[in-house]
Symmetry: C2
Subunit: 695 residues, 2 copies
């Protein structure tokens, strides 16, 4: 045994050939006992080295007094010692050449400042030995592909043999991993591996995402995220996953303030802006869900069949009432319901009267007396329909359940399109459940989950079009640091081709009169003073100045307001062209740590408050991408000329939004920037006002 | 046996003392066989009369050749004969004095015009004999309170003994009844009775609601509705249920066009306007849910404990990740999360470090090594908190599960506040589930359901304030039938105290000039012609007519437009006062069959299309009720003076809305009426235009 020459690869962390269990014992009530029992019970084929100075053997395995006494350096060591013993243990593992330590020990960075300092020292020690760490504050890993049950979750004991498959999970919550293990086992979801990553002090979420992308067994990767360490890396990995035909699903805590507080105290994660994460997911083709339990079931169904092809969803059910409610909920969720082809209608003709060949199809509405042929023909007809891209069968208590299930299994085995079985019979129909588990057909038991499966299948199919990565912006030189004046911001905008109203800076009434005459009445007057934010509130703005007399009055008032707002500075009042009525938008750029510059585009005026009508994208965007963003706004109809108004100049508007977004080229100098309003009219799009803070 | 002198009461229908099974057989594959087996297996204590001319006994029970051969008239007869034999069978039952027939026979009104005609004849026959009907197209009843398993749903065979309790179901879908029976049995929900009402040809939903309100065993009544026969009766019954301390929950199919199609073909129900049903529920204190399975679980939890008292929700969980996601979802659902009292924080102090005493409380974040005392103290502290009105425990796989469960059961047994157990361990933890079932503690297994339980508990608590019944409107005389002109509508409005702009009818330019001088410029010109709907589109309206010259031009144009729009009629152009800028609303009255006049209030102008910002109430409303409606609009902030505008005259606006609503007094003459816009300004609220159709 000796120090490592290079770090262990993630593939060996997920599928270790050997591992040491510090504190191994036969006592199941202890951490070390649970880990050992689970490892042995699930038939881990690698070498297990129990470490316990007080025992010669445990569970028939030779025990070693310490890590340093091991004959070879193990790939992994499980560390669940108290925090006080953590540094010494990590040091010992490092010396012994351990590949990676799974650090279960908690009450570190998530707990207190002292804990955070200890965590940092432990990482430092490990780095010195080229040893990797998983955790701390994690609950280990469950890797069916490697027959590895390296977790204390008691559910491993009750689950029976692993159900192997293509679903992987990377979770910041260990307890959640245990819970999702149960859910998966219970619903026929086959797993490749689950990793609990805790505080991500060294190895982080993306390391394991990368590992599972490379893992041939994995087809769907589920993420439970509290705080993301490296957004750009996840974006790049998502592209790689898509290229490899693997789906990524995610649930993120911290959508609200309440959830963010919980995430912080749970794994010391700063939840960050949910909207930036949501934007990353949309742009990278990651499907964001709201419920972890459901995510693992959705993943199971996705893993078990082909991707959803063209067309809508075909639903067959045995309860007309259940079908009616499902039809409502699908419509409200915006799910595409298939229109049956003429051929399908013809096939249903003999068994269902006209007017009852609905989608959802209620089998209870068949004609004449019941025989199984009716059910079978109906299921096959809907499954075969060329306009049906996914078949969903909702099985409520009904006659002929076993035969119906066999028919569904047969359709599933064709692997032509996804078949979603909703076993809506609670725990009751134990035999049916067992049959699905044996056949390897994952299922859901609730409509809520069925809807999420359908939404995800559609989202993954549509994701292709949405996936994008913002080009690196061309560098833009920052004029100076600090809070820029309106003219300074406009100069930046004009350089990007964004139109602004004609304007002339004036220092006297006479100059203003000349400027107004040149520009043409009506005009706008704006007092310019460095550092002044709320110009309107301070009386620095006059719009609709109609003629010379009005200009003289307005100039005097604005000049007085300037003197009050910024005493002692030279007078500057800009005379600006007045832009006609139009639709007002707000366009902003922000920096989101790790996520890069974000373009925020929203409805302006009163709609900001009433609608919360805002979309976001990584900056910069092209004009075409700007149009796609505009189409997602609720005020989109206004831009098209709702209520008898002329439509706005869309090309000019998209060019303006794209122009603003290119100021992402300010790079690290950009703190934030906002154009408010950007007024879109039939004749063009104009940045009427703007503010920016540069570092 | 002889004809009945009066109809059987609903109490005897739900709890019959005797019943006849037409077509009784031992063959479980047949309808009549399933009914008989289920009845016998579940220990029905009343008299069963099997009817089968080819048998002497079935399952040891004496068989009779026909209904007419029975020694006494049974309370109920089960009729599952083919449609062709239905009339004769009903006739025979009527002659024999049967109290009510449960008609399983389908393919009637829901199927075809011939079926509808047959259904009508059958009802006629039954009425002649004072015999009641349940169905047709129903699946019977399951009444645990009477040990009555009168349904063919195969789930009755697998369920074991009934789980008796206080939850009742009235369902238009029979298959759904079977499905919900399973869900209830599986989640520890105790039932009083479930009735499948099918096409409601005679006995309808409200008859059974009335029966379950009177039934002492029932505490919560669940409804699955496709089409409601008697909305006013349901409203009155809901008030009676509230007075009796019984909750009503409902799921309604036909929220969307897709769901309405299904409802129609399922039980021949016209789904009607979902918004009218939703309004009825809100005003009557009925909680409307979106998922039938969830409804029965919610009902079970409600039935098992006291109503939610003052305060928020306290959540304890064993997964920090699960807690974080739940915190997000609760916040998004608008659920009130309790702030711990100082005393609670003090109790948690010893076991949880500051910053980890969150709500949700993550038990995993305790200090020091684990012993069960920590869990117990934490659960009790949160349960005891005076600001906690409902305790929710999310049990994911964790240490000490059995002890934790016992602690929760003990808290539940105190019956001080609702205790919601979320058994988030799938089917896995069989022992835990069994223990909850034994202890009689209903539980849910999914976050989706937990959220609905919490939302319902809060909604029922808040419902008191919302419950209202519109007073009968004072009668209003209809001026004439047909499409009213704007002045006619305004006359109706003025009579109800609604302000309209000053106006003078003019037949010449000279008259218009005099009128404008009297009213004051600027003015509005409107051409008036009977039968013309879209005045603006036809050029009949000019606003902002600023002076005499403008008026001359406008008058000529409008006069020409009048001649085009309504050739040959006498010229009438109204000169109106121009009302200043403000917030535009739309107020409408519609008739909804059975629901009575409905007041619809929405944001006007562009907001109608962008926001779909509409609220509804039964008309008439008081000014205070009008204000409550306005507060539910998204444009409410505009009325309060958002963005520097003066607030509108709220008292005048509420009075105007109430005034419009009193036109419900037009009674049957009212087809529809719309004030668009009702302009609310700082100086008052004015009906600027209106239309109405009277019968």
């Amino acid at each position: 045994m000796s120090r490592r020459s290079q770090p262990i690869g993630i593939d060996r962390v997920i599928a270790p050939r050997s591992l040491a269990l510090i504190g191994a014992t036969e006592d199941y009530t202890k951490f070390g006992g649970r880990f050992l029992h689970h490892l042995v019970e699930h038939g881990y084929a690698g070498q297990i080295y129990p470490i316990n100075p007080r025992r010669e053997t445990v569970l028939g395995l030779t025990c070693y007094p310490s890590i340093s006494a091991l004959p070879v350096a193990p790939d992994l060591a499980l560390v669940a010692v108290p925090a006080t013993a953590l540094e010494a243990t990590i040091e010992e593992c490092g010396k012994a050449g351990v590949g990676a330590c799974i650090v279960v020990t908690a009450q570190l960075a998530e707990f207190s400042a002292e804990g955070a300092a200890l965590e940092a020292r432990v990482v430092e020690i490990a780095r010195g030995y080229k040893m990797r760490l998983v955790g701390p504050n994690c609950m280990g890993m469950i890797v069916p592909a490697a027959d590895l049950a390296l977790s204390s979750t008691p559910t491993l004991r009750y689950s029976g043999p692993f159900r192997k498959g293509g679903v992987a999970l990377v979770s910041q919550s260990g307890a959640l991993m245990g819970s999702l293990y149960v859910q998966s086992h219970d619903h026929g979801v086959g797993l490749s591996g689950m990793v609990s990553i805790g505080n991500q002090a060294d190895l982080e979420l993306c390391d394991f995402v990368e590992g599972f992308i490379a893992d041939p067994a994995t087809r769907v990767i589920c993420l439970y995220v509290e705080g993301l360490k490296s957004p750009a890396r996840l974006r790049a990995l998502a592209a790689r996953a898509r290229a490899a035909g693997k789906a990524i699903l995610a649930v993120k805590a911290g959508r609200t303030a309440a959830g963010s507080v919980m995430a912080r105290s749970h794994t010391s994660s700063l939840a960050g802006s949910f909207s930036a994460f949501e934007t990353l997911c949309r742009e990278a083709g990651i499907v964001l869900l709201d419920d972890p339990d459901s995510m693992i079931l959705v993943a199971g169904v996705l893993d078990s069949g082909p991707a959803m092809a063209a067309g809508g969803i075909g639903v067959v059910c045995s309860s007309g009432g259940g079908g009616a409610v499902l039809a409502d909920r699908m419509a409200l969720a915006g799910l595409p319901v298939a229109e049956y082809a003429e051929g399908t209608r013809a096939r249903l003709d003999a068994d269902f009267q006209r007017g009852h060949q609905n989608n959802p199809l209620d089998l209870g509405a068949h004609v004449g007396s019941l025989d199984f042929g009716i059910f079978e023909r109906a299921i096959r007809a809907v499954h075969d329909d060329p306009g049906v891209g996914l078949l969903c069968y909702v099985l409520t208590p009904q006659p002929l359940m076993p035969q119906t299930l066999e028919c569904l299994i047969a359709q599933w085995q064709r692997q032509e399109k996804p078949v979603l079985v909703v076993l809506n019979t609670a725990r009751f129909a134990g035999d049916l459940r067992q049959r699905l588990l044996e056949a390897g057909v994952p299922f859901v038991m609730r409509t809520d989950d069925a809807l999420r499966v359908m939404q995800t299948a559609v989202a993954l199919r549509e994701a292709g079009a949405a996936v994008r990565s913002a080009a690196a912006p061309a560098p833009v030189a920052a004029p100076r640091a600090g809070f820029l004046t309106e003219p300074e911001v406009k100069a930046l905008l004009v350089a990007q081709g964004v139109a602004v109203p004609q304007a002339q800076a004036c220092d006297s009434e006479a100059a203003a009169l000349r400027a107004a005459a040149a520009i043409g009445y009506p005009v706008v007057l704006k007092g310019v003073a460095e550092g002044v934010v709320h110009k309107s509130d301070l009386g620095l703005v006059r719009v609709g100045v109609a003629d010379e007399a009005a200009l003289r009055r307005a100039f005097a008032e604005v000049a007085a307001a300037c003197a009050r707002a910024a005493p002692g500075t030279a007078l500057r009042i800009d005379v600006q062209q007045m832009i006609g009525a139009g639709v007002e938008l707000i366009v902003g750029l922000t920096q989101e740590a790790g996520f890069g510059p974000q373009l925020v585009l929203g409805a302006g005026g009163i709609h900001v408050e009433l609608l919360g009508d805002v979309v976001q994208a990584s900056a910069p965007v092209t004009p075409a991408e700007a149009e796609a963003m505009l189409r997602r706004l609720r005020v989109w109809p206004l831009l098209q000329g709702a209520r008898g108004q002329a439509p706005v100049d869309l090309a000019a508007l998209c060019a303006a939004v794209a122009g603003v977004s290119r100021l992402a080229g300010l790079g690290a100098a950009l703190v934030d920037l906002e154009v408010n309003p950007l007024r879109a009219t039939a004749g063009g799009a104009y940045a009427l006002d703007g503010r920016a803070t540069l570092a």
